[in-house]
Symmetry: C2
Subunit: 326 residues, 2 copies
């Protein structure tokens, strides 16, 4: 990090998570630097294919519209230097399953373009990459441990694990100071449904609260490993702020979360928003969604993450209440 | 496989392993097909950057000289159809560590080019891919199990694990019927030393037997997980012949091997080729080689491979004796 302030790049900066991280960084005013001080935010660059959201009005923020595969644009964007990169740009699970080539391009070639851009910096930037519970699947132990082998059962999960491996190797080579978080499914996601196969868990809470109907494509007893948007943002910023020594040689981490079934979520919804709200959800099974989502693990022991100071939500009620508060 | 005979492609067909597999296939006359019969070999295409060896004289063999990254050449090579691919082309361990970009190009982009070529066939070809013990490293259990997480500590190992993931995912998608073998270090490799960091274990046996001096870059008590060339060829052909159902959803397999220390190898050399031969080895430590090779695991429990019929050598004496017989 430079003395004149930290320069941060967020790929996928127009997305929900990118925008949330951007707002958190602006509110904090920078990043904690090695000895526990804070390095002021000098520049925050949001890079995305398109920005459909209301732009953040802040002199420190700049917008770059383009493709994460466009190495020349990435290179120009980082020409004045970059100290920290949140690489969030990604084709989501159902999208990568429906269009294999698109997933490979964005999730694999995009990752390589970002890593190559970091490598060409004078000093290796810190990089936070978001992987996913989709790194796991198939025959799994009841509780996934920090040592459990990645066994992705989807193209999305495969591409995320490949990204983890590249982040690890490029860190070992000194090209970047990388940190990968395998995030739980984020619930309650605000805004409109996206192509994430796991999106229904947000839909069946968010839509009924707004008075709208929602469809649940999996059975009532289906469970998920989830984290609230606020905790996810905290985790990404914490991953960036931790010193390299805390990470050691293994730069991939299972983030904490909580296990919640559809039934538990709907019961909490009924408690908090009323029985009428919960009644707005109807069940209509979707084999394509089930195949992806039900292959993911639902329970982890995240000892390493907890030792490193990452935190889960206390329960689904807290998550729903925070969503309603907005 | 077609009724008119099986068409086989070997990438890295000019290398030691590619040539050995080619000779084995020609001698066998084809591949066992699903019900246990044999499908005659119609065409065997050896694809490599260069062929420095004496060409095999056989009407069924054709040579293609080119780069495994050259998708157009691969496509033309497979235009008349291909039923089975041995993808052996690779930048070896020390080479991929010394030149990161070369390793990424050949080991990752080359793999993708081969998979894309397979995907464009009318029926998904079988594909055997060679991964390595370099998939593992760092803090490992004393015995690596079939469920142990891949933790590569070199760019070569990283690129091999990425290849495994892509083979698995492309198999799941129905683009190819892939099978990956994580091979032990092959000992005794014939011919000249190559850039494989593990090559010394062959050198310290092969060179003294020829009456030449050899250098051992690791300590006497260093151990390795090894397999003879003959067993490696048998394993690759067996991996190809096993029906898809035997593999199931997990297409990556730790191949059997035996654990041998430098000391045990030199003692066996003295027993078989005489004390004079063993005295031709001098020790001269090399940190770069040690960093790569000593990060690899030396002991596996290969239950799954044994259930599937893969076999290890009986001991280092048998391996040295077979090498001397040639």
């Amino acid at each position: 990090m430079t003395d004149s302030g930290v320069r941060i790049l967020i790929t996928g900066g127009g997305g929900f998570l990118g925008q949330s991280v951007a707002r958190a960084l602006l509110a904090r005013g920078g990043l904690a630097s090695e000895p526990g001080g804070r390095t002021a935010l000098a520049r925050l660059t949001l890079f995305d294919q398109a920005f459909s959201i209301e732009p953040i009005q802040d002199a420190r923020v700049q917008y770059v519209t383009g493709d994460v595969l466009d190495r020349e644009l990435l290179s120009r964007t980082c020409a004045a230097g970059v100290d920290a990169v949140f690489h969030l740009a990604s084709v989501v699970s159902a999208g990568a399953e429906a269009d294999f080539d698109l997933g490979m391009r964005v999730n694999l070639d995009g990752m390589r373009a970002v890593l190559d851009t970091c490598r060409r910096q004078n000093a290796p930037p810190r990089l936070v990459f978001t992987s996913s519970v989709a790194a796991f699947g198939g025959a799994l132990p009841e509780t996934v441990l920090d040592t459990t082998a990645a066994t992705p059962q989807s193209s999305y999960g495969t591409q995320k694990v490949i990204g983890e491996l590249l982040v690890n190797d490029c860190t070992r080579k000194g090209y970047v100071d990388g940190r990968t978080l395998r995030l739980p499914t984020i619930v309650v996601r605000p805004g409109k449904p996206n192509r994430a196969a796991s999106g229904f868990m947000s839909n069946i809470l968010r839509e009924p609260i707004k008075g709208e109907a929602a469809v649940c494509p999996v059975p009532r007893d289906a469970r998920m490993w989830i984290l609230s948007p606020q905790r996810a943002v905290d985790a990404l910023v914490h991953a960036m702020e931790l010193p390299a020594g805390a990470w050691g040689g293994n730069r991939t981490l299972n983030a904490p979360g909580i296990t919640v079934s559809v039934e538990q979520a709907l019961n909490a919804l009924a408690r908090i928003a009323g029985r009428d709200a919960a009644a707005r959800v109807r069940f209509e099974r979707d084999a394509a969604i089930e195949n992806i989502v039900l292959s993911w693990p639902v329970q982890f022991a995240t000892d390493r993450a907890e030792r490193l100071g990452f935190k889960a939500d206390r329960g689904i009620d807290e998550i729903i209440e925070a969503h309603i508060r907005g």
